[in-house]
Amino acid sequence: MKQLIELNVNGIAYDVIVSPEDLLVDVLRQKLGLTGTKKGCGQGDCGTCTVLIDGRRALSCLTLAIACRGKTILTIEGMEADGRLHPIQQAFIDKGAIQCGFCTPGMVMAAKALLDENPDPTVEQIKRGLSGNLCRCTGYVKIVDAVQEAARRMRAAQSQEVSR
């Protein structure tokens, strides 16, 4: 049976009508128009649909929308703050980590989950953290570079703030 639920996405509360079987990825894309989150396989294998739910990475193609009531959802569209790209996004541009771009939103979200948990990861830890996200274009080299660079920049910004 269809239900009216409230979904908190990128800090905005949306009223949406969902069926119990509706997947978060479809609700985001089709009902909220947040098409930045991609659907590459619909089976939880490719990671393009990665979002953060209560700060933890989640595959929105394996998540029921109805189960997200009362939770906070962050998608790629919510990464920019005060009109500025998140350092991870900026590093992806600067380091050439983007080719076709289809994996990019999921990759950026997975990287955010990783760096939120571990601000100073080793290359091995970055690789492990992104191992659930496929990319067919880049061979991952520049993606790993970008996440390393973002971590460096974020730590530098953090220490600047502390010293201030």
Binding site: T35, C41, T75, D94, G96, F102, G132, I143
Partner: protein, 791 residues
Amino acid sequence: MTASESNTFRWVGKSVPRVDAADKVRGRALYTDDIVLPGMVYAKIKPSTIAHGRIRRIDLGKALQLPGVLAAITGEECPVPFSVNNYKPTEMPLAKDKVVYYGEGVAAVAAVDEKTAARAVELIEVEYEELPVLLDPREAMARDDVRIHDWAESNINYEGKQQFGDPEDELRKSHVVVENSFFSSYTHCGFLEPQSTIADYNPGTGRLTVYTCNQLPHYLQQTIARTIGMPMEKIRVIVPTVGGAFGGKTEATPACMVACLLSRKLGRPVKITYTRQEVFFQNKGRHPCLMKMKMGFDAQGRITAVDFDCLLDGGAHSSWGFVVMWFIAALTHLPYKIPVVRYRGKRVFTNKPTAGAQRCLGGVQVRICVEGLLDMGAEKLGLNPYEIRMINACETGYKTPTVIEVRHSEFKKCLESVARRSGIVDKYGKLPFGRGIGMAGGHYSTGGAFLLYPSYRPHSTANIRVDTEAGVTVYIGATGIGQGAHTVMCQMAAEVLGIDYRDVHLVCQDTMLAPMDNGTFDSRLTYGAGHAIKRAALDVRAKLFEVAAAVLGVRRDHLDCRDGEIFSIYEPKRRIPFQKAVAQYLSSVGPLFGTGEYTPPQPKGDYEGKLIGPTPAFGFTAQAVELEVDLETGKIKILGYWEAGDCGKPINPMAVEGQVEGAISMGLGAALYEEMVMDIEGRMLNPNFHDYKMPTTMDMPDLSLEIVDSYDPTSAFGNKEVGEGPVGPVIPAILNALYDAIGVRFTEVPVKPEKILQALGKIESAGQPRLYVAQAPSECARPGCAPGEGG
């Protein structure tokens, strides 16, 4: 521009960020499935549940009664075969009379939403009369009584032969002769964006707009026109952002045709987006080939002759098969000098998802054979892998027996670089058991010389409009598929016009706005578009300089432009902003347009298949890999990977690196993990990314890349191919390194741990040999591999 001038480039050769990166990283880039049109409805396709059989009955009744269903069609709606090259086409929008692979569409439904369409598809009843399923091309050839397509005798789709010299005689006279059989695997392009189409037919105007992710929008426009029977000028194809393609999106999908047919029926926009499973069933990936090659050498290690037989497993439909068969032949002639060559190719239909085009089309197959035999020959001749390659490497000015001139080559530089950095000469044959090093070379055509239909028209055209309203706008039919085409095209236009590359507007991927382009394949884009854009921009520049010269009171041939200004090279104080000169031109002369085009030289020689393969330039690559085999588990660990590439002048080195890294990743996947597997009835067992294993971050070794110093004088900016060639050497470099590591010559991929363990005698190779197994230790027969001749 000349090589010496290339040092003064302002934008060409710079690793600038991509023009589309900011949108992509924000999730703002629109891919086809992201687009929603007012009044849009959704369609789904009913897949066949058998791999080969006659359709006895299709009942749409129950589906049509489902509330929300708007229309349903079968193959009767449009029984017109199409293919990308329109040579012996077999595929139809929906199968009519018979199905030839598991998952082929037999009916389609349009409904108010996707869920309803999916439910309706399940209500369609289909009855089949099953026919024998042919999965092995050798079996297919032996079963003329079971024709997959009625006209194809012995299920042979195409066959052809090229012969230059007398290979039998040459091989007889050769100092050393080596031969082997090889099998290239059945891989899939693996782009992450499933194909999607929105067809929007307007009954008021009789016009059809198609949004779809495709690499060749102008060919698609023509294919749609021919297939559904509409004048081409009433069809507009718009290609939104493409989420990876790798050759797999060169062709029209049947779903694209179905969307067009349903939209025309309903007068509303219709969207179809494939599921991942449908993407696999549709396939159009690499042709698996069973290959036999003989290679002779003289006492100095020079190749004397090659005799090459290639059996291509085409799967169910024609697709690119004709082109692939001849491309394999063409790519045999480089990057090594081979004076005598015989090629005999056959493409055979089987009841499997269709093989088509995948990045480094044809090259992957040839490289497995040539690079494997080079190492075998070197061993007999007492040469190391580097020496044998240097002895035979082509140089600038080399002419192949196919009358193709290599107008520029830095291949030897690539080999030298990789040998020096990897230390292969010192390490080869001396590493401890289980550890090995191997190398391979490669090349690819640049700027493809054939049109998919006979015509002498330009392959690339660029029109540039300059005014004060839109600034500089380049109209070009080229399609970006993630490789970075948009960025390099902006860099090239900006270079000539002396403006910032970010100020160039690009209008492409729209058949109504952009002039006809041959499409994104055969690594032709940057080369062809480069010439066209340069010529168009020079046209604009000449016109603009005339007015600027008058304003500045100098001769126009004294002018240059850079950083948004036009200035006298002798009196740099005499300068005028680009924009001001444009305003002056518009006022005193009128509209400012430039146009440029490029057509590659026509193929020479007189031999069968000559239209496919000749190309104005070639990119080169050399690669070496050091690896370690875990003797207990059979796992392969890559310890070092070195690549050196001759891509001419790199327009954007960062993008070049990205292309090479991605290419090597695709090669590693094919070498170690990837393979589509069928069961005995022709059902794919792994139509998903869980079971079809593509490399993840954890599988990528550190790569050491070098772009060798190079400048191709035949090219607009010295640039050549880089996107495809580097895929080719990966498999043979790994196979050669495995031989160095454990003394076994593997001749088929993927080399999974069980294959290593069988080779080491740690586990038994149970049962009958796997289809196509050559000399390599065999793996147990898999479901779907019908018993063949085996070893």
